[in-house]
């Protein structure tokens, strides 16, 4: 079972969810052998696609489209499991989502929400993209970015996580030595 996990974090990103669940994109997922798309939709209004999804944390909606299983929910206390079973992650530019995905060693496409242009979040996505850890794009360029991911010449670098011990050592050696 090959999964795509789409996450929008604690707020909403309706354009991303609509794009990811559009016929065109679902066909591409199909073409590349994905079976299931899990979408974490946050506060977004997607009544046209998921009329039955409630605001309760545990509420999950399921449907089948273009031969793919689609599972949707708003929030979970931990997304760890969904990150773990994903073969591809498509995420908003939140740092928590980015770092959690990279630490799980997942192929990651970060999508910039152009309606939030003032948001400082992009600095991190942009930087991580420059460092070669992920691909960074917009909803309108998602399809071409997806193709880039399949390009055999593209090598995403292995993520080197941050090290909090450096902080502990700094305190011990420089502040309270």
């Amino acid at each position: 079972m090959k999964n795509v996990f789409v996450t929008v974090g604690t707020t909403k990103f309706e354009l991303l969810i609509d794009t990811v669940l559009s016929d065109k994109v679902l066909e591409i997922f199909n073409k590349h052998g994905f079976n299931k798309v899990i979408v974490q939709i946050g506060n977004g209004n997607h009544e046209n696609i998921f009329p039955n999804i409630s605001w309760e944390k545990s509420s999950i909606a399921n449907l089948k489209k273009k031969n793919l299983e689609i599972e949707a929910y708003r929030f979970k206390s931990s997304l760890k499991e969904d990150f773990k079973k994903a073969d591809l992650v498509i995420s908003h530019a939140g740092s928590g989502s980015i770092i959690e995905s990279l630490e799980a060693n997942k192929k990651l496409i970060v999508v910039c929400n152009e309606d939030l242009m003032d948001n400082h979040q992009f600095e991190l996505a942009e930087k991580m993209s420059q460092l070669g850890y992920l691909l960074y794009t917009t909803c309108s360029s998602l399809i071409t970015t997806f193709d880039r991911l399949k390009d055999s010449d593209l090598k995403l670098k292995k993520y080197e996580p941050g090290n909090p011990r450096l902080f502990g050592n700094y305190l011990n050696n420089n502040i309270f030595s």
Binding site: P161, G162, I175
Partner: protein, 181 residues
Amino acid sequence: MMRVKTAVVLGSGGHTGEMVKLLSGMDLEMYRPIEFIIAETDKMSAQKIEQLRDVGKKFDYRINLIKRSRSVGQSYLTSIFTTIMAILYSIPLIYRIRPQLLLVNGPGTCIPCCIITFVLSRILCLIPECKIVYVESICRVKKLSLTGKILYSLRLADSLIVQWPELKQAYPQSVYIGQLV
């Protein structure tokens, strides 16, 4: 073993996540007890703190609630008023805690605590010396956050730590030791 009484200001969402990671890199046998200072409106932070509890080891902490100085999206004008209220609330709290280390990483809630700690400890000498350490979020690559800028320009922190070399270049007085979270 030397013990350092530590106060940690927690803010919403991402800030708490980063602070929990920073704490996980510290020797919690040395930096204890930890007095967490949390905004009343924050429901999630207390849960995240529990993640630090190592099986078998004693995790010595306490939670203190404080009024929030500025909510996300709140107008700057009303923020001045709520910040003053937060400062007044912080005074008895910091005075009672008497931390030797104040750890902050960004939410607006932390500025009143920093100001009060600095005034009580360095200016009025009403509490023993307290080091103030600020860690800027990993999200900040090119520019400091508003909190970071305020603390940097007022020189309130003993160490203002940034997580990207670009920021160290832009703010020479800051400390860069690598990516921490």
